[in-house]
């Protein structure tokens, strides 16, 4: 039995489908808890719906490249495992890297070789699945303790909370944007940053007057930035 027969088997389909269903329980339960808490805090359904719609619309854009990552992984890992892996923790680059490292450990040249023996393929599935779970294991055991400490700090400095949270957020995205901001050779990325950034400012201004636009501001600005990078690419 070749590894792709296992990977495309109905057992694999069921295991992956079952796992995704279990994973989906979490946002459903949290959504119920969150909406209930929102009502306790005097938030309206409309406010919460806006937040949900805005997030849902925005999330379509970063999901699109993931579909392509799926196509890239299918030839070596079959139809179902990449579906599961990209639906849960991990990323296309992680899956490829972990699968390759595991394959090498098992004495294969890489994950792309044909006819991997069953036991080795299942071993690779194990390695790819487990190696990325550090963050979740941390959350399982330590997030509660850490969050309680954060809450105590927040309680003592209530006036500072929004300022510090904003500062943390700026630090987070300042750091993540830096490799793009400093790469002067990647002009299309620059065009995307500038196009999206400037249109976010403009759409933000217009949204103060036009009701309902604010929800789509992030997604729209990103589309402008992405299209500008296409135009700049053509001009070069």
């Amino acid at each position: 039995m070749t590894h792709l027969e296992i990977a495309n088997s109905s057992v694999m389909a069921m295991l992956c489908g079952f796992t995704i269903l279990v994973v989906l329980l979490q946002p459903i339960l949290f959504l119920i808890l969150g909406v209930k808490r929102g009502h306790e805090l005097d938030m309206t359904d409309a406010e919460m719906r806006e937040a949900a719609v805005s997030s849902a619309v925005f999330s379509i854009l970063p999901s699109l490249p993931i579909i392509i990552s799926y196509l890239i992984l299918v030839p070596s890992l079959g139809r179902y495992f990449p579906w599961l892996r990209l639906s849960v923790v991990g990323s296309a680059s992680y899956e490829t890297m972990a699968a390759n490292m595991a394959a090498e450990n098992f004495g294969l040249e890489s994950i792309t070789v044909p006819d991997i023996p069953a036991d080795i393929f299942i071993g690779i599935v194990f390695v790819v699945t487990v190696s990325i779970l550090g963050g979740n294991i941390f959350n399982l055991f330590f997030l509660k303790t850490y969050d309680k400490k954060v809450q105590v700090l927040k309680g003592k400095n209530a006036a500072l909370v929004p300022i510090i949270t904003t500062a943390m957020f700026l630090g987070l995205y300042g750091t993540m944007a830096t490799p793009y901001l400093t790469n002067v050779t990647n002009v299309t990325a620059w065009a995307a940053i500038l196009g999206a950034g400037v249109s976010a400012l403009i759409i933000g201004k217009i949204a103060q007057k036009v009701k309902g636009l604010k929800e789509f501001s992030l997604a729209l600005s990103m589309i402008v930035g992405m299209l500008l990078s296409c135009v700049v690419n053509q001009l070069m």
Partner: protein, 222 residues
């Protein structure tokens, strides 16, 4: 259950659903091993898992410590199970806070984050499910279209621009250090070092950015 505080409910729900997810994840290799009657070769598997696990675990912990105060624990439990935290879940949460007009770090902000991350999870899962069923091959020519290709290569920079510019415009004084410091750092240490140790650098920048904003506040400048 009735007498529990909201926070305790979040911890309980978060921990139990994370545990459930971990068990479900593990069921895939174990299920295959049983179904195809093929035992797992433990020494080799552990030898392969450990180094990758440790590499990712250390940076994941740094990231979670940084994310938790921003989006709150409920959203973080969820975000980490489904992944794409920095390029989808956090921006979704922060954008939703902005749309709802709630103060970052507040109780309301945590509720909005939970709703945002849940909505985002449903969308990605649905898109990928459709991708697996039929969408992926249909989308491929669009993705590989010569004119449109840069658009899909630049989703992340576009996201950073759309998220950062309004924040810089709104909080110009607070933004100086967190924007300039990492740029100076990457020029000193080089791109490879920066991207290899980005989680650690991020944590450092976040802490310094917090201290810097605290000082601005103390001096009455913000």
């Amino acid at each position: 259950m009735k007498n529990m505080t909201y926070d305790d409910k979040v911890y309980l729900l978060g921990r139990s659903t994370v545990l459930l997810a971990l068990i479900a994840f593990a069921s895939v290799p174990f299920g295959l091993s049983m179904a195809f009657n093929s035992p797992i070769d433990w020494p080799v598997v552990i030898e392969a898992t450990l180094p990758i696990f440790l590499t990712f675990a250390i940076s994941a912990v740094c990231e979670n410590l940084s994310y938790a105060p921003i989006i709150g624990p409920g959203a973080l439990y969820m975000a980490c199970v489904t992944g794409n935290v920095s390029n989808m879940k956090i921006p979704a949460a922060v954008n939703a806070m902005e749309v709802a007009g709630v103060e970052p770090g507040s109780d309301k902000a945590n509720v909005i984050s939970i709703i945002a991350v849940a909505a985002s999870t449903f969308v990605t899962t649905a898109v990928l499910f459709l991708g697996m069923l039929f969408l992926a091959p249909l989308f491929e020519p669009v993705y590989n279209n010569e004119f449109l290709r840069p658009a899909f290569d630049n989703v992340v920079p576009a996201l950073f621009g759309a998220i950062l510019f309004p924040y810089i415009a709104k909080y110009p004084k607070q933004a100086i250090l967190p924007i300039v410091l990492p740029i100076i750092l990457i020029l000193i240490v080089g791109r490879t070092f920066f991207s290899t140790y980005q989680s650690y650098i991020m944590m450092l920048v976040i802490i310094l950015s917090g201290v810097y904003s605290y000082m601005l506040h103390k001096k009455g400048m913000i």
